[in-house]
């Protein structure tokens, strides 16, 4: 790790740890920023690095959310009665039950979407380009429609997640708990992804992006690697979903869990805005996007989705390379590319 990297990491770490005390009013917003960063990072595994532009990764987010809260409730109480009676009014989790349920919930929220990803990935990762994009779009929306029709998890009305136990501290402690959990998750996600990009796996998925047929001709089992990439991203997305569901406290099929037109698009946009196919791009993209989005939401209240549509169009037309992509073009030597100084000055003289 170079000196510059250490400075950047420690700055982010200090900001992450001290943010709840420095900006107590924005605690929830910064927690959501960490969740959005996870979404962008995981999208970039297939979208940027593997070249499989998915519109349906929101599926794993929603599945994780539902699985997490179903496990949390189902471990101690009958799930159907919970959803039928509006949940928290009749049943109460004790403190130990709450944390026990939450831990198991998060574990399952990671594992179940990963299994789902492996199963459907085998079917649809053989599609390429826009067929893959539209197919995943269809899956994401179908999942929302199906979840809205299942009575056990509250159908269209959605379900409440277990409330914070009364015994220990109030809402202040709750928001801090979720803040640090989100920060921890984003750190773990970032370093795991950073690690796998440095291994052979990272090289292979980049080879798949550049030319899948040639990668296959070189003897790589591309399907295996594609599924692994998809599973990794589903695992972290599921955990992020479980966290998000608990943080909001209420799950609804089409607006929160399988929100294809908000979070489903946000994750693509953030990765593109930051620069897809880079490690830091999604992180920067998420931060910039979140700040812009909150600004829009405040200034254009009621018009926010119009602004969002316009923002999508502007980003893809004018910044398809993203922020980091732009820097990379401008200063290639900072991105590990060897630049011949003589060549460069010669080009300048020519122009």
């Amino acid at each position: 790790m170079s000196k510059k990297n250490i400075i950047i990491y420690s700055l982010i770490l200090v900001f992450g740890l001290s943010a709840p005390f420095l900006f107590p009013a924005y605690k929830l917003q910064i927690s959501i920023l960490w969740v959005l960063t996870i979404l962008a990072l995981t999208w970039d595994i297939q979208g940027g690095q593997m070249g499989y532009n998915s519109f349906g990764n929101i599926l794993f987010f929603g599945v994780g959310m539902y699985v997490c809260s179903s496990v949390q409730i189902g471990m101690f109480f009958p799930l159907s009665e919970w959803t039928a009676s509006g949940g928290e009014k009749t049943f109460l989790h004790t403190t130990s039950q709450y944390f026990q349920g939450f831990t198991y919930g998060l574990i399952f929220a990671g594992i179940v979407p990963a299994i789902v990803a492996a199963l459907i990935g085998y079917g649809i990762l053989g599609l390429r380009g826009h067929y893959f994009a539209i197919c995943t779009l269809g899956i994401g929306i179908a999942a929302g429609e199906i979840a809205g029709g299942i009575e056990l998890i509250g159908a269209g009305q959605g379900m409440t997640v277990p409330p914070w136990p009364k015994g220990i501290g109030g809402t202040e402690l709750r928001s801090q708990f979720f803040y640090y959990l989100c920060f921890l998750t984003v750190c773990v996600t970032f370093f795991v992804i950073r690690l796998i990009y440095q291994t052979r796996f990272g090289l292979v998925i980049n080879a798949i992006r550049d030319n899948e047929d040639k990668a296959e001709a070189m003897g790589i089992h591309t399907m295996r690697y594609k599924i692994i990439g998809w599973v990794v991203s589903a695992f972290f997305l599921g955990i992020a979903g479980g966290l998000m569901g608990n943080m909001i406290g209420y799950i609804e099929p089409t607006e929160i869990a399988f929100a294809g037109s908000t979070y489903g698009v946000f994750m693509v946009l953030m990765a593109i805005l930051g620069g897809k196919g880079t490690l830091w791009g999604p992180v920067i993209g998420a931060a910039v996007f979140h700040v812009f989005k909150e600004g829009f939401w405040t200034f254009f209240l009621g018009w926010q989705y119009v602004a969002l549509g316009a923002l999508i169009i502007v980003i893809v037309i004018f910044f398809p390379e993203g922020i980091l992509g732009w820097f990379r073009e401008k200063y290639p030597e900072n991105f590990g590319e060897v630049v011949d100084e003589v060549d460069r000055t010669a080009q300048v003289e020519l122009t």
Partner: protein
């Protein structure tokens, strides 16, 4: 099996008739998509929103006191210009780029138009009454609203007119030439920019026709555009680009499938059934092609 449709077989006739009349409409939208996909090589996610927008034009006429059936004439004219200006402002910047960029850009257009329609017309479900009455068949056991029959006939008329136009007129030939080989067409003096704009306009006009027919036969809502996009995408990938009989057939097939799914699974799973059918078809074709070491491209 405890389904109503198997207990009363006459419902199957009802579902099939509904499905056929609905499928003709889907085929019209899908033909627009196939045209534009073949010529410009972009997939328009905002296709469904164009349909709904066309429907709202008919609905607007209805609220102004004009019979909404005239929407089939007014709507395509307005939609042609909307499509043309969409091309000139946004699509021309993404048409030469990566397919993913154009999908995302049209997705942006889709969100934008959804929300604008929501502001202008409200989020309520609306319907434009055509007052065409209904036709009863088989001793009053099968009901067919005349509006649906009218809409199917109008769709067929427009489809035939479009095919003739593409065959005979100068612009139609230029469009077909561009879709076969864009470079060669350019060399031979076709203004491809103009062709693209016209294609997008014609596509929007077809959506306008379909939308105004949907306004009088079904319901309108700002957020139901995406299923129409997915349906037309599905029809196009089954039928191939620019093969009108196949487009019509698979449109009708999809319509019948949907009506049956509606009866068997229940209305709440109708949209889910459409989206899952798309996934099933794509996965089926993928496994079929992968035996030959090929893939959908």
């Amino acid at each position: 099996m405890d389904f109503l449709i198997f207990k009363a077989p006459i419902l199957m006739v009802q579902a099939s008739m509904d499905g056929i009349l609905l499928g003709v409409l889907f085929a019209l939208v899908a033909y627009g998509m196939a045209l534009q996909w073949g010529v410009m090589n972009i997939i328009n996610i905002a296709q469904g929103e164009l349909v709904i927008m066309g429907g709202y034009i008919a609905y607007f006429m209805y609220t102004a006191g004009i019979p909404p059936a005239f929407g089939v004439i007014v709507s395509p004219i307005i939609m042609y210009f909307i499509g043309w200006s969409l091309y000139k402002t946004i699509i021309n910047r993404v048409v030469e780029r990566d397919m993913f960029i154009s999908i995302l850009a049209t997705f942006g257009i889709s969100i934008l138009t959804q929300q604008l329609m929501n502001f202008v017309f409200g989020a309520d479900v609306v319907v434009a009454q055509s007052n065409f009455g209904t036709t009863m068949l088989f001793d009053y056991s099968v009901t067919l609203p005349n509006a649906k029959i009218f809409s199917a006939l109008v769709s067929i008329v427009f489809a035939v007119a479009l095919v003739l136009y593409m065959k005979k007129s100068k612009l139609g030939r230029a469009i077909r030439a561009t879709s076969q080989n864009q470079r060669a067409a350019k060399i031979l003096g076709v203004d491809t920019e103009k062709v693209y704009a016209a294609t997008f306009g014609i596509n929007a006009a077809l959506c306008g026709v379909a939308g105004s027919l949907i306004a009088i036969t079904f319901t309108l809502h700002p957020y139901i555009g995406l299923p129409y996009t997915v349906r037309s995408f599905m029809i196009v990938i089954i039928a191939g680009l620019g093969n009108l009989p196949a487009v019509a057939l698979s449109g009708i097939g999809l319509g019948v499938f949907e009506e049956f799914a509606d009866y068997i699974l229940g209305t709440e799973f109708r949209i889910a059934a459409v989206f899952l059918l798309l996934v099933v078809i794509l996965v089926y074709r993928r496994f079929k092609l992968s035996r030959k070491r090929e893939y959908l491209k």
